[in-house]
């Protein structure tokens, strides 16, 4: 009888993540086409409309890049934390916490110079995100509590907190019955570069390079990789793995918090439950699909941002906006399936 066993390939293909992603994208669009076909819509028409309305003009391209900004920033945060082989499922909560921290500082502090004020607000968003992951980080590094579950649960705590704030103490009397905090003043809006493109995207580019440097080029990045590897190696190299992991988690949470701050200052201009539409979860797809590489996250983030914009405009022709989400999720599913063939070899062995 023949038996099949799996072995891990010794040398992984350098470009395997890229190929997997391409295959995943093709599979996803095939699935999307089938869904559209079942709804008796012409897939080609719908997809070309999506492309036209997401990147076809300067205006729509700006929208896509704005949409990509929180995905990229939160994805970068996730990738930094993943350097130590830890998961951050809490980016959604950290995004909200960044916005909450920003609003808190905005209410309690007044700085005349609006540029300085914006900077202070962005920093407070970053700190808010770090604060949000503080408990999971402490629990992980001190007691060894599984960070997947704790970061996940903080999402719901922070969203509950947001609901509490926008329905209670922060509720804007002018928003009628819609639960939302008051708008921030126009003077602290992030400036527009051109068309609708917010300067938040520039911050995003800047932080992509920071993340790239931090992960790939710095001593800290080296320590991260060692700390994420074997415990003994870290001990031998004199690296305090727990301390390194703790700092990585705070930085990663901060990235997501910054995403929330930018979203508030450039898009929603106030705290409400609609501030993030699952950006924190989509960011996990973005980060995972690129194998946690910062430049990849930047590029795929833009693609997914454009997909989301495309998804929201095709509602006008009666196609559900969830199509974009289905395509995004299927891309990663497809990529995971293809990745299998790059990482493992199926060998036939004679059973004795």
């Amino acid at each position: 009888m023949n038996k099949y066993i799996l072995t891990k390939k010794l040398k992984a293909n350098e470009l395997s993540t890229f190929y997997s992603f391409l295959f995943g994208l093709i599979i996803a669009f095939l699935i999307g086409s089938i869904i559209l076909f079942l709804q008796s819509k012409n897939p080609l028409d719908v997809f070309s409309l999506m492309i036209k309305l997401s990147v076809g003009s300067l205006n729509s391209l700006s929208n896509s890049l704005n949409k990509a900004t929180p995905l990229i920033l939160a994805g970068l945060g996730i990738s930094i934390i993943n350097s130590v082989k830890l998961w951050n499922i809490g980016a959604e909560g950290q995004i909200f916490m960044g916005a909450i921290a920003l609003n808190f500082v905005y209410i309690n502090l007044a700085i005349g110079n609006s540029n300085v004020f914006i900077l202070v607000l962005l920093v407070s968003g970053f700190i808010g995100g770090s604060f949000c992951i503080l408990i999971p980080a402490l629990a992980k590094t001190i007691f060894g509590v599984n960070e997947i579950i704790t970061t996940l649960l903080t999402n719901y705590i922070v969203i509950g907190l947001t609901l509490y704030l926008v329905n209670g103490v922060w509720k804007d009397p002018n928003s009628l019955n819609f639960p939302a905090a008051a708008y921030v003043d126009k003077s602290v809006y992030l400036p527009i570069i051109t068309s609708k493109l917010s300067s938040g995207f520039l911050i995003c580019i800047f932080f992509t390079f920071i993340a790239y440097y931090l992960k790939e080029k710095s001593v800290f990045g080296y320590e991260l990789r060692i700390a994420g590897g074997s415990e003994l190696t870290a001990l031998y190299a004199g690296i305090k793995s727990k301390q390194v992991a703790f700092i990585a988690m705070l930085i990663g949470g901060g990235f997501a918090g910054l995403a929330g701050a930018i979203e508030l200052l450039s898009q929603t201009h106030r705290v409400s439950t609609g501030l993030s539409q699952g950006f924190g979860y989509t960011a996990i797809i973005v980060a995972a699909i690129t194998g946690m590489r910062p430049i990849g996250i930047f590029l795929v983030g833009i693609l997914f941002g454009a997909l989301s914009i495309g998804g929201s405009v095709i509602q006008t022709i009666g196609v559900s906006s969830y199509l974009a989400e289905i395509i995004q999720a299927s891309t990663l599913f497809g990529a995971l399936i293809i990745q299998f063939f790059f990482t493992y070899e199926v060998k036939k062995v004679q059973d004795v």
């Binding site: 066993i5 007691f143 649960l153 705590i157 509950g160 289905i326 599913f333």
Partner: protein, 307 residues
Amino acid sequence: MFDIQFLGLLNATLQAATLLFIAALGELITEKAGILNLGVEGMISIGAVMGFITAINTENILLAAIIGVLSASIFSSLHGFVTVILKQDQTVSGLILTILGISLSSMIGKSYVGKKLEVKIYNFRGASEPNSILEVLLSQNFVFYIAIILLIIVSFIFNNTLFGKRVEAVGEDLKASNSMGLNISKTQFVATCVGGAFAGLSGVYLTLSYVPYWSDGMTSGRGWIALALVIFGGWKPLRTAFGALLFGFLEALGPRLQTYGFEVSPYLIKIAPYIITIVVLIVLTIFKKGNSGAPKNIGIPFFKENR
């Protein structure tokens, strides 16, 4: 004897707990076999929407329940395929299952939003106004009793049968169970699908009795609470059931607090289960010296080494 408000609270607690418990019990089975499935929320959604659509179109409640359970189970086999057979990351796969489940179900159920259901899952006993604890217990929905039966069966299987011990062994020590000759991939795959079926039953209960209608995102985080419940219960069915009662109580209490004259925001009550779970998780980990009762191999893909 008891005022009507208390009985109402008890009734609502049991209903909320049933929904959470069934999904949690399914996840417990999956995790016992060493597979973490973060897709509970998505699987509940799929079960809920498929059950609801079937019920609207056929007005056959049993068929609706079966379709709901089966479709959630088939949907969860996607996770089984990717993680058990293709050995890919369980966290990522489970998360996509949630995202995909919610978006797919919203798309499928789009034309059913706001439709009125003609049939519902029956209650065991059609008491109009229960006026004692016993009557509340006896007038529950059929699914409530199914949940109790499932609790007994699953506890029995894990505590008293060789089959249960084998599943547990797969989750605890892959190498040992491999040399014992257990079929690891098969066990894990089946456990994943069973977990999906349980989540599907939760979903069916949600749309065919608990709410009963269909709208986008109506699972509203219950799948995540179910995941939290498994940890809260230390991977033990009975403790998970008590946890479900506690969390169900908190869910039922939220909208009622003001009638009792408390000035606590219902939104703060809503986040209590999550805070309790984090605290319990930390406390459990400290007291058991890093062992919270979790299956040791959870999240680790298995492949036979080349010998």
